[in-house]
């Protein structure tokens, strides 16, 4: 599994013209969370506390906070709730790191624990991935990602 984690994390980075404390709240405060992700959030930002974000109105991401270091780092487990989902949420992990960069902040997101493919023997993660495929495919139409679309519409 460790090999897969190294090979398969989703990694994104963005530079934001704001100090870390302005950004941190977006990961721990439900009202702030839904300004960038989801339509409804229940967050208990302490180790073991609930992370639950209703992403589109019907698709819910759920996990637990693992680490909450104010203005520096947030780690939470992550997965999808939902019909036909054979996997308990929380089978992968998202790490957010806030790195000051002058007057700005580099936000690094690393989503790991995702299975790499059929060779991955971590059954639970693999099933999680399959479940995600089901959800992704559930969006149906070609074109822009339907998840993004509906999340975006909610906030416009």
């Amino acid at each position: 599994m460790a090999v897969n984690e190294e090979r398969m994390p989703v990694e994104r980075e963005v530079r934001i013209e704001a100090p870390p404390d302005v950004i941190f709240k977006f990961f721990v405060d439900p009202d702030e969370m839904v300004r960038w992700k989801g339509v409804e959030a229940t967050l208990d930002p302490r180790p073991g506390g609930l992370y639950r974000v209703n992403v589109t109105g019907t698709d819910v991401a759920r996990g637990e906070y693992v680490e909450v270091s104010p203005n520096e780092r947030v780690v939470f487990t992550w997965g999808w709730e939902g019909e036909g989902n054979p996997v308990p949420p929380g089978s992968s992990t998202v790490e957010i790191t806030l790195v000051p960069d002058g007057s700005a902040t580099i936000v690094r997101l690393r989503h790991h624990g995702l299975p790499g493919g059929p060779e991955d023997r971590h059954a639970e993660g693999w099933e999680h991935y399959l479940a995600r495929l089901a959800v992704a495919a559930g969006g149906g139409d070609a074109g822009p990602d339907p998840w993004m679309q509906s999340a975006g519409e909610q906030s416009m």
Partner: protein
């Protein structure tokens, strides 16, 4: 929607587990289950058309295994999911920061 329906059936998830590591014939897959061969064939058909399963002919046999491309597609999906999210986060945080700076400017004058 097709993949969602395909995965909603537990037996089909069991089938995918079987062919995750090994390419197996329909017969070998069926031997793991307590249901009729036609029923298994039907499940295989559903999984195949949902893009979750690859089928290969070897003489008279048909061999099945998980379709690896599905994983790359999913990874791309998550990559977009977070990429788009962070772009929105950037907008929201920078808007907040501007407001804060403007307020400070209003109180103390521009620095």
């Amino acid at each position: 929607m097709e993949a969602a329906r395909a995965l909603a059936e537990p037996r089909r998830r069991d089938i995918l587990r079987l062919v995750r590591d090994d390419e197996l014939s329909a017969g070998a897959i069926a031997s793991h289950f307590d249901v009729s061969r036609p029923a298994i064939s039907q499940h295989l058909g559903v999984l195949k058309s949902a893009g979750l399963l690859d089928e290969r002919r070897d003489g008279t046999r048909r061999l099945y295994r998980v379709r690896p491309e599905g994983f790359a597609e999913l990874r791309e999906f998550l990559d977009d999911f977070w990429g788009e999210g962070l772009a929105r986060l950037k907008s929201a945080a920078e808007a907040d920061h501007s407001v804060r700076v403007a307020k400070r400017g209003g109180l103390r004058g521009r620095q």
